[in-house]
Amino acid sequence: MDSGAPAAGEVSGAVLPAAPSERAASDLALRLRAGSEYVAIPALALAIAAFLFSLFLLAIGKSPIDFVDNIWRGGFGSGFSFQNTLQRSAPLILTALAVAIPARIGLIMIGGEGALVLGGFASAAIATPMVGVVAPWLTLIVMASAGVAVGALWIGLAGFLRYARGVNETISSLLLTYIGVAIMNFFVEGSLRDLSNPNKPSTRPIGEAYMVGKIPGTDVHWGFLAGLILAVGLQILMTRTTFGFAARVTGGNMRAALAQGLPVGKLIVACAMIAGACAGLAGFYEVAAIQGRANASLAAGYGFTGILVSFLARHNPLAIVPVAILFGGLVAAGGLIQRRMGLPDATVLVLQGLIFVVLLTSETLYGRFAIFKTAASKDRT
């Protein structure tokens, strides 16, 4: 299948092909060939993880086929379950974007959970004095802004520490998550506690009238649409703007970026802040569309699952959407699996963990398969 390719390469080196359409076609073929590797290897990783998980299920005496069946029914099989899946995928899209954008500039930020929790908490806290005083639409705008701002500052701090002091951003963003959760607990169990609710420490509920509604005709809240728009918008930002270009140069080779005089520090902090804003927005929707108040349920692990989603999507904002829906389905089916198969909720976490480990291992496979190689890369010895 390669017989023509090297010859074409030689020709285009000296004299570029005349017909632009022909050139465009070969460019596209080249990109497709190279791009297919990024689909095939994660897919292979998923398959291997599924196989290992089947072994796990067999070992505890459960049927993998039942498991798949329940995932299908609980996550995708009916209109109701699929809407539930979309609902759950909304925060996953946003927290995955919170990993993907810093990854493009070469940072592994895993603090989405903390930004989500603090963003949600900030939304709920700022809403408390406004409920019943200010109009709902204005309250929601203020809440969203607070969530976005607090999330942006939280991850932005990890970015700043990375650039200014060389602190490892993976560690700092992870540790900031624990601090974030602790800050929320401090207030929720203290000065901002809703005393009318003795069971679970929470902030005061914002009330039905102040909640974000559903997308008309569905059971899915607007956060899903926000995630879609942000995914598309951030893809455009990273590929079609000078900011995204500069960020990709910085992420691809810091030394080259410095030699081009690019404002590396600002770019790093900006990307970290965009990430935090996405996670903070997820927190806002969790409060304003699902929970109605801030409490420990905010730390439900969406921030951590988002890491997995982003890695599986190879930090591509557009690819994050389908992957997030897949994982939203897993989360949504968790309850059904618990009831029907008598498996604990954590079973899904076992699956997620397996996927992550296999996926990270599969990183070493890139460039090993001749089928994905282009003529030029093959000529190198």
Binding site: P6, L258, A259, K378
Partner: protein
């Protein structure tokens, strides 16, 4: 020497004298590429053999087949006229065939002694250091050169590290040494010293050496025989004295035309293009690697900065190109204060051509078109409104540059890491030199490139000088500096130690100043 106990590393199966080695019809195919095509080379016992060839000619593939990194598709290997089978590097080592790689393989945080002892396959789990040290001293007594045993390798100079690499092979009792461009990290005097020592050892019948190189001067000064490879085939060779440089060059590059260096003309511009005053820059450890560096470069002049590697050259270049903060001092471009920011690079027309462009000036995973747009992506026509990126003009510009600078790439969309080293450097050169240049900062621009690319790139640098650019050329290759420079400055201990006009330059004086005398 009789005081020595027998060295602990002695492996009784290996003879204590130089072996001969012969490849017969060695062939290796990678996919559709024939990397080695029926190559037969005989290296006589006790000789110093040179392996010449351009990048991609198959030299590395050949020695990798000998060392057992690759299994040849066809062909045989004879050691001392006896056919041997080498399936992996351990087999080669057991037969006494060892290799010094282009880049150091020592553990920087360990001392020389520790590096030597841990390199042994039979190093015991608990090491009796007193005994080992004594054995090492005894071993060094018998060697023609020595290195400080008790200092961490990271504090050794490049020449000492290279000596240690060679000592390591001798310590492991390897008598057939393969050297892969061993002098690319050394000063000329270090290179001459080491090659001279190896030559003497070979002629005493202690070792046999096969050396991959690009440098004709080294071949002529030190080697007995030469084999030339081109496109995977052996195209010629023979006794060194019987071949002229011209013959060897013709074999190496075939019929490809080499661009002649542009003649020097008087530049249309004048004045001080670049002035560096009292520059102090810290290295990664916080010590001042550049300490009070002063230098002026006039417009239309190439100033070559020579020096032993590690005397602050890389920190100097990094500071000038914005990769490293400046502690104190001033940089002036045409008498105006210059700070290395993106705006200033454009305003003052300051451009750079770094060493190892894939590491310093390109993003490997981005496409050729994108890499060529690093200087222009935030300006019209590629950017509109200051932030929107238009791929069409980016590709158009890249196609124009690819054609003008003869960059060999299958497409503008190919990731730049898939290009050969020479073509990556040409792409960077096209990006940096296609406009009007006032100041050009060049660091080891031809490091690791093939013959034709080197000639090309040097011609471009001369061309910029003729058009009025002030060129600061920092290079570890003294030949390159002597060939290109109008003035030569020697850098030692982070500052300028000596400046001379290239016309009256004397190799020995420069060498002495490089060594800090």
């Amino acid at each position: 020497m009789s005081l020595a106990e027998p060295p602990i590393a002695k492996a009784p199966t290996i003879p204590q004298r130089a072996p001969s080695l012969e490849t017969i019809g060695m062939t290796k195919v990678f996919g559709s590429l024939v990397a080695l095509d029926d190559v037969s080379i005989k290296v006589a016992a006790g000789s110093f053999h040179a392996l010449l060839g351009e990048n991609g000619a198959g030299k590395s593939t050949l020695v990798k087949c000998v060392m057992g990194f690759h299994l040849p598709d066809r062909g045989a290997l004879r050691l001392d006229d006896e056919e041997i089978e080498v399936k992996n590097p351990r087999d080669a080592q057991a037969r006494g065939v060892g290799m010094v790689y282009q880049h150091f393989t020592l553990v920087p945080s360990l001392t020389a002694a520790e590096n030597l002892v841990v390199s042994r396959a039979d190093a015991p789990a608990v090491i009796d250091w007193r005994r080992e040290k004594k054995a090492l001293e005894a071993f060094l007594e018998r060697m023609p050169f020595r290195v400080p045993l008790n200092r961490p390798v990271s504090s050794l100079a490049a020449g000492e590290k290279q000596k240690l690499e060679i000592l390591k092979l001798l310590y492991l009792n390897q008598r057939f040494l393969i050297l892969d461009e061993p002098t690319s990290v050394l000063t000329p005097s270090e290179a001459d010293e080491i090659l001279g020592l190896l030559k003497a050892m070979a002629h005493r019948g202690e070792i046999t050496v096969a050396m991959i190189t690009h440098k004709f001067r080294e071949v002529e000064a030190f080697c007995d025989e030469v084999s030339v490879l081109r496109r995977g085939k052996k195209v010629g060779g023979g006794k060194v004295g019987a071949l002229s440089t011209r013959d060897m060059a013709r074999m190496m590059i075939g019929d490809a035309a080499i661009r002649q260096s542009a003649a020097r003309v008087k530049a249309p511009k004048s004045g001080r293009a670049l002035e560096i005053a009292g520059l102090t820059v810290a290295n990664d450890e916080g010590r001042d690697a550049v300490a009070g560096f002063d230098l002026q470069v006039r417009a239309g002049e190439i100033v070559g900065v020579a020096g032993v590697s590690g005397n602050g050259q890389s920190q100097l270049v990094e500071a000038l190109s914005g990769q490293r903060p400046i502690k104190t001092g001033q940089i002036l471009v045409h008498d105006q204060n210059f700070e290395p920011t993106r705006d200033n690079f454009d305003r003052f027309k300051v451009f750079g051509l770094p060493e190892e462009p894939l590491k310093n000036a390109a993003v490997p995973i981005m496409s050729v078109a994108e890499n060529m747009a690093f200087r222009s992506f935030d300006k019209p026509p590629i950017a509109s409104l200051g932030w929107w990126l238009n791929p069409a003009p980016m590709r158009a510009k890249s196609r124009e540059l690819i054609k003008r600078y003869n960059v060999k790439t299958p497409s503008t969309e190919t990731p730049i890491r898939d290009l050969s080293g020479g073509n990556v450097q040409r792409a960077v050169l096209a990006r940096e030199l296609s406009g009007d240049v006032d100041v050009l900062i060049v660091a080891n621009p031809c490091f690791g490139l093939d013959f034709a690319s080197v000639a090309d790139i040097r011609a471009q640098i001369i061309d910029q000088r003729n058009r009025g650019a002030g060129v600061l050329l920092v290079s570890e290759d003294l030949d390159e500096i002597l060939e290109l420079s109008d003035r030569i400055a020697v850098m030692s201990g982070g500052k300028i130690a000596y400046v001379t006009d290239a016309a009256g330059a004397d190799r020995t004086t420069i060498g002495r100043r490089m060594a800090g005398h």
